[in-house]
Symmetry: C2
Subunit: 404 residues, 2 copies
């Protein structure tokens, strides 16, 4: 049994878990809306899965290759991680989805008994592989490890994810640049919808794993609508908004969410892929997003950047050499509460890998706590005050408000 926070326990006391959702034989993922924030429309909710119940809005740490980099499953448990993400493409290439199926599935393989979401592999095919060529059938490419030719289709993405046994599976979509022509995006969106339909048909374990569709359409309102309507017609258990956080401005992202979200059903979870900047998390939750993920906290952690209530800290900066204050008094991870900035500075300067663990766990804990506080603010109907408070401290619109 994973640890849950005091506030999540409070929520369970306030809104008892529904027995029929816990034991629904047909639906592996069920969303329950608990409360809508009065001033913004942000959703406090929960997601029932075969591996436990989680409260939303929530952030998912990323374990790309069946391991959150330099972080143990016990660390994740201790910082109240509830749901993690792993990457289909990476696991397909190495060690292989067949091997993980033989191991008893991804949960058992990596010893994480909470829910897992896997992406479709599409994003990595576009960003990591070579010579990729898309057709109606799927994508031909060469993998980034040994250059072998591989073929990914909606059906293959489902077969792999069925082998992995993740709680939430993502359909294969085409990850396109934000600024493409209307015609290009329209064709792509229509194909992505056809791929979603094929994925649904190919799905072998619909009672154990939930398939999410991905709404695309770049910055075109009509195409986002086209995409959402096509996917909603398929009656999938959840929907993601894709093609954001790929270089567009934050205003642009908010604008797209503003006109996209109303097309999505209120009784299903909504997932915004690849976002971890505190301001974006809050602004997207305000627009009705429930789930987030990003490699950002662990990636910048490995480089010595810490996320704190007072903004970012680059621990390798010389000014921390003899700073004997705690890493971050306000964040409750073990490292932040036990080690000084001077010690963490030393570990990074001396290339001691334990420093990467401290910083990665810290950043994850910062974000998980931010989400917990956000849930509380939604419950208390004071999300806008919370937003103001977080952003003023973290440095929104201040010189250190660099977007990650």
């Amino acid at each position: 049994m994973r640890q849950i926070s005091e506030f999540d326990q409070f929520l369970i006391d306030q809104y008892p878990l529904k027995e029929e959702y816990l034991h629904d034989p047909k639906r592996p993922v069920i969303y329950e809306l608990l409360h809508v924030e009065k001033h913004t429309g942000a959703r406090l909710g929960r997601i029932y899965t075969r591996h436990g119940v989680v409260h939303t809005p929530m952030f998912m740490p990323v374990g790309t290759q069946a391991s959150v980099k330099n972080v143990s499953p016990r660390d994740l448990d201790e910082i109240n991680a509830q749901f993690i993400l792993s990457n289909t493409y990476h696991l397909w290439v190495r060690p292989g989805d067949d091997l993980i199926a033989k191991a008893g599935g991804l949960h058992k393989f990596m010893q994480w008994d909470g829910p897992i979401l896997t992406d479709s592999g599409g994003f990595q095919v576009w960003s990591l592989s070579n010579n990729n060529k898309i057709s109606e059938e799927g994508v031909d490419f060469r993998n980034h490890v040994d250059g072998s030719p591989m073929f990914l289709s909606p059906e293959v993405a489902m077969r792999i994810q069925n082998n992995l046994g993740s709680d939430v599976m993502m359909q294969l979509d085409e990850a396109i640049p934000y600024f493409e022509s209307y015609d290009y995006v329209k064709n792509s969106v229509e194909r992505t919808t056809r791929w979603a339909a094929r994925a649904k048909i190919a799905h072998q374990r619909p009672e154990e794993q939930a398939l999410f569709g991905i709404v695309q359409g770049a910055g075109f309102k009509a195409l986002r609508q086209l995409s959402a309507e096509g996917l909603v017609d398929l009656d999938l258990p959840g929907y993601a908004v894709g093609g954001l956080s790929v270089g567009e401005t934050k205003e642009e992202m908010n604008r797209v969410l503003d006109f996209t979200m109303p097309w999505l059903p209120k009784d299903k979870p909504r997932y915004l892929m690849g976002v971890a900047a505190p301001d974006s998390l809050i602004d997207s939750a305000i627009r009705g997003i429930d789930m987030f993920d990003s490699v950002l906290p662990t990636r910048i952690g490995r480089n010595g950047t810490l996320m704190t209530k007072q903004g970012r800290i680059v621990i390798t900066n010389g000014k921390y050499k003899d700073d004997f204050s705690l890493i971050d008094e306000e964040t409750e991870d073990f490292g932040s509460q036990h080690f000084t900035k001077a010690y963490l500075h030393h570990l990074f300067k001396a290339n001691e890998l334990y420093g990467q663990n401290i910083a990665s766990v810290h950043n994850l804990r910062y974000l998980l706590k931010l989400m917990e506080d956000m849930r509380r603010a939604i419950y208390d109907d004071n999300l806008l005050d919370f937003r103001q408070d977080v952003l003023e401290n973290y440095g929104y619109n201040k010189p250190n408000a660099r977007l990650f």
Copy 2:
């Protein structure tokens, strides 16, 4: 309070701690002999320090740069590590002993509240630095980080270790190759004894930190005697045997211990530097050694080699790709009890650093448990049976008995 094993608790019940040793205002390190094994002379004992009491024979994990590589202090606590070692040379170069003194000392800096031993820095000066030149005064050299000229003398080594605040400090000695001429070794031994005398004079905190002398003399019986007698005359709180485990055979090492140990006082701890091979640990304990250290378990762990009761396992070997048995059923560290060999194989193949943590903690736990079992065998007067059992299983004189 650090965790201790059931057997160490049993020893405390059998041989209650001596109040006067716990609170001796003058002696920071006191050795208490509890039992001598009937058939071998191996010593079951304990060492009282200002940071706790430990049972011997024992093995010290090495935290070179104020961190046991990729291992947290909590991991160390969980596997019953009792005493750790850190490297004076490395801490002197980076972050600097002054900074650690300002941090409140090494224990506080690295958040390890158990006893710490620091070496003199001499070994790294010989092995890592450039242009080193020895004189009666000390050693001139250039450091391995930025090439700065530095000077290490018996006094400097003491100043640094006084700043670090370690429980056991080592005198500066000359680390010489095993096969040098008698005359060269004799001169070196005599200088090392003079350096020990200078170190004792330079020591600023004799009531808090214990200075150990280092017996040198390569393979020459007369010179080992000369060295031991000179150092014992200084009445230091403990003694190390140096200049072994540097390429000589195991038989040669045993031979040197055989004729060296009788010269050392029975009421002081004896420390054999740089040894971690199971057969050597047992054979040296049989000859009266109480303390060991080595980077070996963490170093080979980082490369994917595991120490187990059945011998070494190289987890990157292809045969572990689909081996879904536990990493090591017989060793009680978290990783060994939760993950399969296939998973650890995958982590190493995919360059996931969490694998290094699993393997390093595992190897340390293997050795700490070996030492605990050795203490039990000494208590039970069946150390030779224990030796036979360990070595037959681990692979002594068998094809996989490669010496580390």
